[in-house]
């Protein structure tokens, strides 16, 4: 009995307190993790698409957490050929080279065509109509100079800690870059 009384009782109040503190510590860690996963920020970095890697899979239009995707088409006019038959603007084999809806490639009519001088035309993006599907980018990359590209608009992006598009991006083209480096623009390929 003497020996028993000297052995720490396994069910003592100290054990109870120790187990309780452990449990609270784990709860606290979980809470911190949860908070970081939903509210955290990764410093002065922003999500951007690398235009050289992007394959225009269409997921930017569907997987952004915003109702209207933060991904839009951008156009580097320095690379553009100002083509009369722009394959980003016109359907393959259009009926005519005019702005008739039946001739336009963009389903939402987000590309504007303006005559500059014969034989050059300027193409600009109506951002309010663009859904970021990348259909025009494919047409431009396949046959033209590749001057159009998809990019995450910083004024629209919510800067989620985990970008929902980056998670599903098949080419891993989306990553965080220092804010002072954005935007990533298309360069001459």
């Amino acid at each position: 009995m003497k020996q028993d009384s000297q052995t720490p009782s396994p069910g003592s109040r100290r054990d109870f307190l120790r187990d309780g503190v452990r449990g609270l510590a784990f709860l606290g860690l979980g809470g911190i993790g949860g908070f970081l996963s939903t509210r955290g920020r990764a410093g002065d970095t922003v999500w951007q698409i690398d235009p050289e890697i992007c394959v225009q899979c269409g997921k930017c239009a569907t997987h952004c957490v915003r109702q209207e995707s933060a991904v839009k088409v951008m156009h580097n006019h320095h690379i553009c050929g100002y083509c009369e038959l722009c394959t980003a603007f016109f359907e393959p084999d259009p009926n005519d080279l005019n702005t008739g809806a039946e001739n336009q490639l963009c389903p939402t009519g987000a590309i504007l065509r303006r005559f500059v001088e014969d034989p050059y035309y300027e193409y600009t993006i109506d951002e309010s109509l663009c859904i970021g599907c990348g259909k025009c980018v494919k047409g431009c990359e396949m046959f033209g100079n590749g001057s159009m590209f998809l990019q995450i608009k910083r004024d629209l992006c919510l800067d989620c800690n985990e970008c929902a598009i980056a998670v599903v991006c098949p080419s891993r083209a989306i990553s965080r870059i220092p804010a002072e480096q954005a935007y990533l623009l298309k360069t001459v390929s």
């Binding site: 569907t62 394959t87 396949m142």
Partner: protein
């Protein structure tokens, strides 16, 4: 767990000696610890897994995988780029490895030599790909032409290097201008014709490099519509009829010019169909067979096709199945036997195509494709 099975200690009192309660003494069960160290950790892991699974389930319910885009948002030109096999009247007859890292232009030389411009040199190869010489250039070569006598004219960015038949350097021409980007050279009648994509013109030059004039600038007097060069692909070749053929890619046509700059005729049309030139600006390269037939090369959907001397579509030399699905621009050359040499930048090699021995009749398939 072994402790539990052996019964050497009480499950409710870990670490307590098994014989502690021997002799009929009752084990101390007051304030028992409910879990062992092992069980505590197992429980923690299970709890974490349950919490993680719950979070995942909650997220899936809250953010279900969105539906993919409908077909109207998908860019698909496969029905245009597919080529009827009956239209292909040429077959591969070999591949010549160049040994260059970057290849830009190809030309056929005398004695069955194949010259390839790339890196900062011109590789002189035999039919089997054996290197018979290498001419180091003062800058990366972008185009080249071989004179009937064997002289070699190499186009750098803004000037032309001239070499003798043995490869010796004879002269380096003056710069043609700060915006000049030479993309093709032809030799005829002792003169040079150089396509300048930067200036959107064709320079008529003496072999010494001295300028004689410009060809193709928009003018009602010469009937020239002006060159539309959206990208740095601007090719030309001298035809057996003595007219200089110049590709006007933005207008999807091949134009014929007199040496004085007068445009005589043009043919070609924009179309995704097989008899037209696809995309915004094609063809990117041409070559002319000894009989005056035209070989054309298109980028985007790689197609090498044959047209007769009047510009009527005749057949396909090679399509994406033979060349690859990439959209690279492939330079062309033809040798004295009528073999078609296609420079293939992705593989840094020259693909050789010859006519099939028994060309199938195109018949209705041809008509249907048109």
């Amino acid at each position: 767990m072994s402790e539990l099975r052996s019964g050497s200690s009480s499950p409710l009192s870990p670490g307590r000696p098994a014989d502690a309660g021997a002799g009929g003494e009752r084990p101390a069960l007051d304030h028992p610890s409910l879990v062992t160290g092992w069980e505590w950790w197992i429980g923690a892991v299970v709890a974490a897994a349950l919490v993680g699974g719950g979070i995942l389930l909650w997220r899936l319910v809250r953010h279900p995988d969105p539906a993919p885009l409908s077909s109207e948002f998908i860019y698909d030109v496969s029905r245009y780029t597919a080529i009827d096999p009956a239209l292909i009247e040429y077959e591969p007859a070999g591949r010549i490895e160049t040994g260059l890292e970057v290849v830009r232009a190809v030309a056929a030389g005398p004695n069955d030599r194949v010259l390839v411009a790339g890196d900062q040199a011109v590789a002189i190869l035999d039919r089997r790909g054996g290197e018979r010489g290498r001419l180091e250039c003062s800058a990366p070569p972008r185009c080249l032409a071989v004179a009937p006598g064997g002289g070699i004219h190499v186009g750098l960015r803004d000037r032309i290097e001239t070499r003798g038949a043995g490869g010796e350097l004879l002269s380096i021409g003056e710069s043609l201008g700060p915006r000049t980007l030479l993309t093709s050279i032809a030799v005829a009648g002792g003169d040079l014709y150089a396509a300048d994509a930067g200036e959107r013109t064709v320079w008529h030059l003496r072999v010494s490099g001295e300028k004689i004039g410009r060809i193709g600038d928009r003018s009602e007097e010469t009937n020239a519509p002006g060159f539309k060069i959206p990208s740095p692909f601007f090719d030309l070749a001298m035809a057996p009829d003595g007219l200089l053929r110049v590709v006007n890619p933005g207008r999807h046509q091949i134009e014929a010019y007199n040496p004085d700059g007068t445009m005589e005729l043009a043919w070609g049309k924009a179309s995704f169909r097989i008899d037209g030139f696809i995309g915004c600006c094609n063809p990117v390269h041409i070559a002319i067979l000894p009989g005056g037939e035209f070989v054309t090369s298109e980028k985007g959907a790689p197609r090498v096709k044959l047209y007769d001397s009047q510009g009527e579509f005749r057949c396909v030399v090679a399509g994406p199945q033979q060349l690859g699905a990439d959209g690279a621009a492939r330079d062309l050359a033809v040798d004295r036997e009528g073999r078609i040499l296609v420079l293939d930048p992705p593989t840094r090699s020259v693909l050789v195509f010859v006519r099939k021995r028994e060309s199938p009749e195109r018949g209705e398939a041809d008509d249907g494709e048109r």
